[in-house]
C-alpha cells in the first residue's frame, strides 16, 4: 500500500482511489469519482448528524440548568443517549398527512429544509481546504444555499392546509427575506478586509477570489470579530433571526401558533424538521466561526480542527444563552429591527470599513497587523456608540413613564352609607 488519505478533501480522497490499485483493484476514473463523492457525503452527513444529536442533548441539559431543573438524565450516563431514544420514538410514530394537505409539497418540505444545512458544512474549510476543495465562491454559496430554507418553510406551512401553519410560514417568509439583507451586507464588510489583510507568505491565495472561505480564514491574522465588531453583531443578530430562535422565533411562536409551520407534521417528517432546526445553531456557529473567529486558526500544538470545534462550541453556547433568556419580539417589531436597525448598522459598517481601508492601506494595498489593531481600536468605540445611539432612538417612545396618580373614579377610604 503505502498510500494514505492525507487530508479529508476531495482531491486527496480522489488521489487515493485513482492513483493506483486499491487492495489489488484498479479503479477507473469515473468510479473513483463516484466513490469519492460517496465517502465525502457519508462523512459530512454523519458528522453533522452526530454532532446535532449530541447538541440536542447539550441544549436540553443546559436549558435545564438555566431553568433551575435537571434536564434529561435517564438514558445513558447524564442522559446522553436521550437523542437516540427521541429518534426511535419519532420514527416509530404514525406519519399522518392531513386530508387538506398538498401531498408532494408536504413530503418534500422537510428534505428541503435539511439539505441546505448539509451543503453549507460541505464548503467550510476544516483543514487547509474544505471537503470540496477550494470553492472560489464560498461565501456566495453559503448565502445562496441558506436562503433555500425560506422556501422550505413556506412550502411546509402552505402545504399543510392549516391556518396556524400558514400564518407561521407567512411570517417566516417576510422575516427571513428581510434578514438576509443585513446579513449579506455584514458579510460584505468582512469581504472588504479579506484581500488587503492577507499576510505575506501565504502563497497560493494571491489569485484566489476573496469570496473563498479558505482565503477568508487565511486572512484573519487578527480575527475579524476584533476588527469589525459591528459586522459581527449585525451578523449574529441576523443569523439568530435566520434560524428563527428567540427573540425572533415568530415562525414557530409556540405560545401563539402551536408549532407554526410544522404544526401538522408528525412522525419521521417531524423528526427531520426537528433535526434541521437543531442543526441550524451548529451551522450558524460554523459560519460565524469561519467568517469572524478565524476558523481553524489557533496556535500549536493544538490542531486546527480542535480550535474550530472549540470556537463553534463557544458560539453555540452563546446562541443557547440568548435562547434561554429572551422573550420574543412581535412580527412588526422584528421587521422594524431588520430594516431600521440592522440595515442601517450594516450600511454604516460597510462605509466605515471601506474608509478605514482606504486610509490605512500601504503602498501595495495591504493592511499590516498593526493597522488592523488600529482599526479594532477605532471600531470598538464606534460600535458601542452607534448601538447606544440606535437603542436610545428606539427607546425614545418608552423612556418617560408617568407617575401613577389615583383615578378619581373610586375612593376606597370613603365611608359606606
Amino acid at each position: 500500500m503505502g498510500r494514505w488519505i492525507v487530508s479529508l478533501d476531495f482531491h486527496s480522497i480522489y488521489e487515493f482511489f485513482a492513483a493506483g490499485p486499491v487492495f489489488g483493484w484498479d479503479i477507473p476514473g469515473w468510479l473513483a469519482f463516484g466513490l469519492t463523492s460517496f465517502v465525502l457525503a457519508l462523512l459530512v452527513i454523519n458528522a453533522l448528524m452526530i454532532s446535532t444529536a449530541l447538541y440536542t442533548w447539550f441544549e436540553r441539559r443546559t436549558l435545564g440548568r438555566f431553568q433551575v431543573r435537571l434536564g434529561p438524565n435517564r438514558w445513558g450516563p447524564f442522559g446522553i443517549l436521550q437523542p437516540i431514544a427521541d429518534a426511535i420514538k419519532l420514527i416509530t410514530k404514525e406519519d399522518t398527512i392531513p386530508d387538506e394537505a398538498d401531498r408532494p409539497a408536504f413530503t418534500i418540505a422537510p428534505v428541503l429544509l435539511m439539505v441546505p444545512m448539509l451543503l453549507v458544512v460541505a464548503v467550510i474549510p476544516l483543514g487547509k481546504d474544505s471537503f470540496l476543495g477550494r470553492l472560489n465562491i464560498g461565501v456566495l454559496f453559503i448565502v445562496g444555499v441558506t436562503s433555500v430554507s425560506t422556501i422550505a418553510i413556506f412550502v411546509g406551512g402552505w402545504a399543510s392546509g392549516n391556518r396556524y401553519a400558514m400564518l407561521g410560514s407567512m411570517r417566516g417568509v417576510a422575516m427571513l427575506i428581510s434578514y438576509e439583507v443585513p446579513m449579506a451586507l455584514a458579510i460584505a464588510g468582512v469581504l472588504l478586509l479579506v484581500g488587503p489583510s492577507l499576510p505575506a507568505g501565504s502563497e497560493g491565495f494571491a489569485d484566489v477570489s476573496s469570496l473563498a472561505l479558505s482565503k477568508i480564514v487565511e486572512s484573519q491574522v487578527l480575527p475579524f470579530l476584533l476588527v469589525t465588531p459591528l459586522a459581527f453583531l449585525v451578523f449574529a443578530a441576523a443569523a439568530t433571526a435566520e434560524m428563527s430562535r428567540t427573540p425572533f422565533d415568530q415562525i414557530e411562536a409556540e405560545s401563539e401558533l402551536g408549532s407554526g409551520y410544522h404544526t401538522e407534521y408528525s412522525g419521521a417528517k417531524f423528526a427531520v424538521f426537528q433535526l434541521a432546526e437543531f442543526m441550524a445553531p451548529i451551522v450558524t456557529a460554523v459560519i460565524i466561526t469561519t467568517l469572524f473567529l478565524g476558523g481553524t486558526r489557533g496556535f500549536d500544538p493544538v490542531p486546527g480542527q480542535a480550535w474550530f470545534a472549540l470556537k463553534v462550541f463557544a458560539v453555540v453556547f452563546l446562541l443557547l444563552w440568548v435562547r434561554a433568556t429572551w422573550p420574543r419580539l412581535r412580527i412588526d417589531q422584528i421587521m422594524g429591527f431588520a430594516w431600521k436597525g440592522l440595515f442601517a448598522l450594516s450600511i454604516f459598517n460597510l462605509f466605515l470599513v471601506a474608509v478605514e481601508i482606504e486610509v490605512f492601506r500601504g503602498v501595495g494595498g495591504e493592511l499590516s497587523v498593526d493597522t488592523l489593531w488600529i482599526m479594532a481600536a477605532i471600531n470598538w468605540p464606534v460600535t458601542l456608540v452607534s448601538i447606544g445611539v440606535l437603542s436610545l432612538l428606539a427607546r425614545g417612545r418608552h423612556s418617560r413613564r408617568p407617575e401613577p396618580t389615583p383615578s378619581p373614579l373610586a375612593d376606597m377610604y370613603a365611608e359606606a352609607d
Binding site: R163, T246, E256, W326, P327, L409, M412
Partner: protein, 367 residues
C-alpha cells in the same frame, strides 16, 4: 387580475398552549391584525354552584378549591366568610391571623404564576416561568405543612381553620420571608428593564380607568388602570384593618402596568405576612361548632380581595344543612369583559400577551 385579500378566522383553543386552560377564542384577522374576537366559554363547566346546593356547608369548601385552582386559599376564605356572615359565627383571633397569612402566601403564589406565564406567553422559553415556579413551590411546601395538600387545600372551615400551624411551618415561613425579597428583586432585575419586554408590553392593551370601572373589572387589572381600589382597605375583613400596607397602582393601564402591579403586590403581601407573624396571638383556631350548620333563613354576600380580583360568594339559606343557593362572583370571568376592547386592532402576538396579563384561571371562568 387583482389579488384579492380577505380576513381569516382562526380558532384559538380550546386546545392551545396559551389559553391557560380550555378557553376558546374565535379570532378574525386581517393579516396579523385582529378585527374581531369572540370568546367561547364553558369547556370546564362543572356546575359548582348547583353542586353546592346538595353539599353541607362544610363540604362546599372542597368545591371552592377547584374554582381558581392556583389560589385555593383565597377561595376558601371567601366562602367561609360568607358562611360565617350567614350563620353569625365568631372567628378566633389566631385563626384570623392564620387565614391572612395563608391568603397572602396564596396571593404571592398566584402572582408568581401569572408573571411566569405572562413571560412564557411572550415567548421567553420557560426560563422565567421556572424561576417563578421555584418560589411557588416553596409556598406549596408550606401549605403542605399546614394542611397536607398542595393545590386543593381546603384549609379553612366555617369558624376558623382546619388546624393550627405546626412548628416547622413557622421555621419555613421565617426563611421564606428572609429570602423572598431577594428573589423577587432578582426576578424583577431580569424582566422589568428588559428591552424586549418593554417593547412588547408598554402601551399594549391599554385599559382606561373609565372602561375598567364600567366593565366591573377588579383586582390587579383595575389597580393597573390607576383605580386605587382594594377590598382589604375598602371593606376590611379579618385583621386587615390592623395591618399596614400600601395599594400599588399603575400609571397607564397597559400590560406592563399589570405586570408591575403584581410584582409590587407580592412585596406588600410579604409586608403583611411579616406583621402577622409578629402579632399573631396564642389561642384556639376553631370554635366548637356542629358538623352540620343550619344558618337562620336569609342571605349573605361576602367578598375578599383574591389574587385575581373581588372574589365573592352569595349564599341563601333556608335553614337546611345545605345552601339553598350559592352564587359565585368570579373575578377571572368578569375581568374578561373588556378583552375585546383591549385586543381589537392589535396583532396576534399581542392578543396572547394581553390575554396572559389578565391572568384568568379557567376553573373559575367556567365554574
Amino acid at each position: 387580475m387583482a389579488i384579492k385579500t380577505e380576513p381569516i378566522t382562526i380558532n384559538l383553543g380550546p386546545q392551545h398552549p396559551s389559553t391557560h386552560g380550555v378557553f376558546r377564542l374565535r379570532v378574525t384577522f386581517d393579516g396579523e391584525e385582529i378585527l374581531d374576537v369572540e370568546p367561547v366559554f364553558g369547556y370546564l363547566h362543572r356546575g359548582t354552584e348547583k353542586l353546592a346546593e346538595s353539599r353541607s356547608y362544610v363540604q362546599v369548601v372542597t368545591l371552592t378549591d377547584r374554582l381558581d385552582y392556583v389560589a385555593s386559599m383565597s377561595n376558601n376564605l371567601a366562602y367561609v366568610r360568607a358562611v360565617e356572615k350567614l350563620a353569625g359565627i365568631e372567628v378566633p383571633e389566631r385563626a384570623m391571623y392564620l387565614r391572612v397569612i395563608a391568603a397572602e402566601l396564596q396571593r404571592i403564589a398566584s402572582h408568581m404564576m401569572a408573571t411566569g406565564f405572562l413571560l412564557n406567553d411572550m415567548g421567553a422559553f420557560a426560563t422565567p416561568l421556572m424561576y417563578c415556579f421555584r418560589e411557588r413551590e416553596r409556598i406549596l411546601d408550606m401549605f403542605e405543612m399546614l394542611c397536607g395538600a398542595r393545590i386543593t387545600l381546603s384549609y379553612m372551615r366555617p369558624g376558623g381553620v382546619f388546624q393550627d400551624a405546626p412548628d416547622d411551618f413557622w421555621a419555613a415561613l421565617d426563611t421564606f420571608l428572609a429570602d423572598e425579597p431577594g428573589y423577587i428583586g432578582e426576578l424583577e432585575s431580569l424582566i422589568t428593564g428588559n428591552e424586549v419586554v418593554l417593547a412588547r408590553t408598554r402601551g399594549v392593551g391599554v385599559l382606561s380607568d373609565e372602561q375598567a370601572v364600567a366593565d366591573s373589572v377588579t383586582g390587579p387589572m383595575l389597580r393597573a388602570a390607576g383605580v386605587k381600589w382594594d377590598i382589604r382597605k375598602a371593606d376590611p375583613y379579618e385583621v386587615y384593618d390592623r395591618l399596614d400596607f400600601d395599594v400599588p397602582i399603575g400609571a397607564s393601564g397597559d400590560t406592563f402596568d399589570r405586570y408591575l402591579v403584581r410584582i409590587q403586590e407580592m412585596r406588600e403581601s410579604l409586608r403583611i405576612i411579616r406583621q402577622c407573624v409578629e402579632r399573631i396571638p396564642e389561642g384556639p383556631v376553631r370554635p366548637d361548632l356542629p358538623y352540620n350548620l343550619r344558618p337562620p333563613e336569609g342571605d349573605a354576600y361576602a367578598a375578599v380581595e383574591g389574587p385575581k380580583g373581588e372574589l365573592g360568594f352569595y349564599l341563601v339559606s333556608d335553614r337546611s344543612i345545605a345552601p339553598y343557593r350559592c352564587k359565585i362572583r368570579a373575578p377571572s370571568f368578569i375581568n374578561l369583559t373588556p378583552l375585546k376592547k383591549m385586543v381589537v386592532g392589535w396583532k396576534m402576538s399581542d392578543l396572547i400577551v394581553i390575554f396572559g396579563s389578565i391572568d384568568v384561571v379557567l376553573g373559575e371562568v367556567d365554574r
